[in-house]
């Protein structure tokens, strides 16, 4: 390995997002724990505190790029700033968290650098001379191992696939703050709007019954609600596809761009289990999946899987419940 590995940190409103430390874990694996060539870069309008926090936590040299036009993310400014930085550094890999910010600029950076671009990396194979990158296709039904062939490779790390790097108490990385005041030309970043529904019963429910596109039609939501009624203190959640179809409001959405939940029981009904959804299930004591597609990715995560047509199985389940718990013969 001759060039640097650069991790681009992600931060929101003065806080370092955990995906940054996930990306650092990935970078550490890439350099086989030899972090001498590893650097982290933070871009923003006042990066001193964040750069300091990152260098303390990771022990890795951190560069803070201050740009007065970056009180909010802006792709034009990020790209021009990174290109300017690369005039000083020989970079071999750039590691970016795969978030709505990350995938907004990563492919553009690749085009500008003539680099290879591999997105949503879930793992790295370091057995051979050159590392290869593992990513999913077809909603998680297939995995591929990808090898770049250009001098520079841009990778984005799949949130939830990497353990965030743990604190390095022994040493603190150097912090270097530089100023690059490049203005955006065509894109003006205006504001970051908060979600309408912040307090949500989903975040506090012990039992979540969740519907996916596999329920087939809006009317079948009644099955989900009937199933939820078997459990006291339960809430109904869903995958993004159900919201996109207009069957449930987005406040029920569980996933990267929706709610993150940690229930005692998560029942995934008609959910394929794509990582954008399942990474919203932060911790669940038990996951039960009901799906009629045995190759659905959800079965890799479920503690208990049932390969059945939900429209047949749920009424049966409710019927059996009534038999088991309510048939008290005098």
């Amino acid at each position: 390995m001759h060039g640097s590995i650069l991790v681009v940190a992600q931060h929101t409103k003065g806080k370092v997002d955990v995906v940054t430390y996930e990306a650092v874990s990935c970078a550490m694996k890439l350099c086989k724990e030899n972090s001498s060539h590893l650097k982290i870069v933070v871009l923003g309008d006042q990066t001193e505190l964040i750069a300091d926090e990152i260098s303390k936590k990771t022990g890795i040299n951190t560069i803070g790029v201050n740009n007065k036009y970056l009180n909010l993310y802006n792709s034009e400014v990020y790209i021009e700033s990174l290109l300017k930085l690369f005039e000083q550094l020989t970079v071999e890999y750039v590691v970016i968290p795969h978030t709505s910010t990350g995938y907004d600029f990563a492919p553009l950076l690749a085009v500008k650098l003539g680099a290879s671009c591999i997105t949503e990396v879930e793992d790295i194979n370091t057995d051979k001379d050159k590392p290869s990158f593992i990513r999913a296709m077809f909603n998680g039904k297939l995995y591929t191992e990808v090898v770049p062939n250009k001098d520079v490779t841009i990778i984005t790390t799949q949130p939830g696939s990497w353990q965030p790097m743990k604190d390095k108490a022994d040493k603190k990385g150097d912090v270097n703050i530089i100023r690059i005041d490049i203005a955006p030309k065509n894109i003006k970043s205006i504001a970051l709007k908060e979600a309408e529904f912040k307090e949500n019963e989903l975040n506090s429910s012990e039992i979540i019954i969740s519907a996916g596109r596999g329920i087939g039609k809006r009317e079948n939501l009644s099955l989900i609600y009937e199933l939820a009624r078997l459990f006291p203190k339960s809430a109904v959640g869903c995958s993004r596809a159900v919201c996109d179809a207009g069957w449930l409001d987005y406040k029920h959405q569980i996933g990267i761009t929706g709610n993150t939940v940690s229930p005692k029981l998560y029942m995934a009904v008609g959910i394929s289990g794509a990582i954008q959804h399942t990474s919203g299930i932060k911790d669940a004591q038990m996951i039960v999946a009901i799906n009629n597609d045995p190759s659905a990715r959800i079965f890799n995560l479920a503690d208990y899987g049932i390969v059945e047509d939900l429209t047949q199985f749920i009424p049966l389940l409710i019927q059996e419940y009534k038999k088991l718990f309510f048939s008290q013969k005098p």
Binding site: L72, S75, T99, S100, Y103, D104, P107, L108, A110, V111, C117, T119, E120, S132, A136, M137, F138, N139, G140, K141, L142, Y143, T144, E145, N149, N186, I187, K188, I190, A191, L192, K193, E194, A195, F197, I207, F231, D244, G246, K264, L265, D293, P294, R297, F299, N300, A302, D303, Y304, G305, I306, V307, E308, Q312, F313, L316, L317, E320, L324, F325
Partner: protein, 260 residues
Amino acid sequence: MKILVCVKQAYVPSSNILLDKDPPRIHYNTGGFKINSYDEYGIEEALRIKESASKIDEHTYVHAISVGPDRVETVIKRAMEMGADEGIHIQCNASEELSPYQVAYLIASYAKDKQYDIVITGVMSDDGMYMQTGTMIAGLIGYPHISSVVLQELRKDHSLYIEAEHDGRRRQTFEVKLPCVLTVQSGINKPRYPSLSNVLRVKKQKILKIQATDIGIPEAREAIVKMFLPNIKQKGVILDGTPMEKATKLLKLLHEKSLI
């Protein structure tokens, strides 16, 4: 105003993916090809921009483009039947083996001297899920771009007000000057059905055909060296038996854990 909407025909099999191991290759079942769901939102959004532009007295044309073999004509026609004015087909065999960069290069090569005001793509495809192509098209043409768009509004000064999805159910808002590229997120709109008048028009209409080899397909910058099906992890148990038996087993399990 001219809008180019990029449409992919994605491979969306309903059950297992069949694989050749060496060299790694997918067995494509012709019945598994469908219009990329994210691009349906793209077509619809293009048509909505056309409709709002006509209110401020602007002639707007929507062109639909796709890269692939003969079968992708279906998705170009779908876009036209929804209301796109013209269709462009970059003919290319085995397009399912192209990387996002290669597809972006082909589309950008076609589009760059055509003065499109807006280029729209879905944020990703249902099969590859790379989330790169739209952004790369922007980089190759030299247009600014915004990805993951959930709302757009055309302003009289020919700029766009955009809301883009951000994590944790937030939205970042932008103003972008035309020309630009937008990649749209699912749920941005409700795609319309083809109309009868458009269907009849499309029956008589020609689609512009361009050979990808005439443009020149660039070399891929990455290679897939292995494909594999995910392992079912050991910790999970697939319940067996009749549906009734599975139901009973499940209820007993839940009851044992005091969940029900």
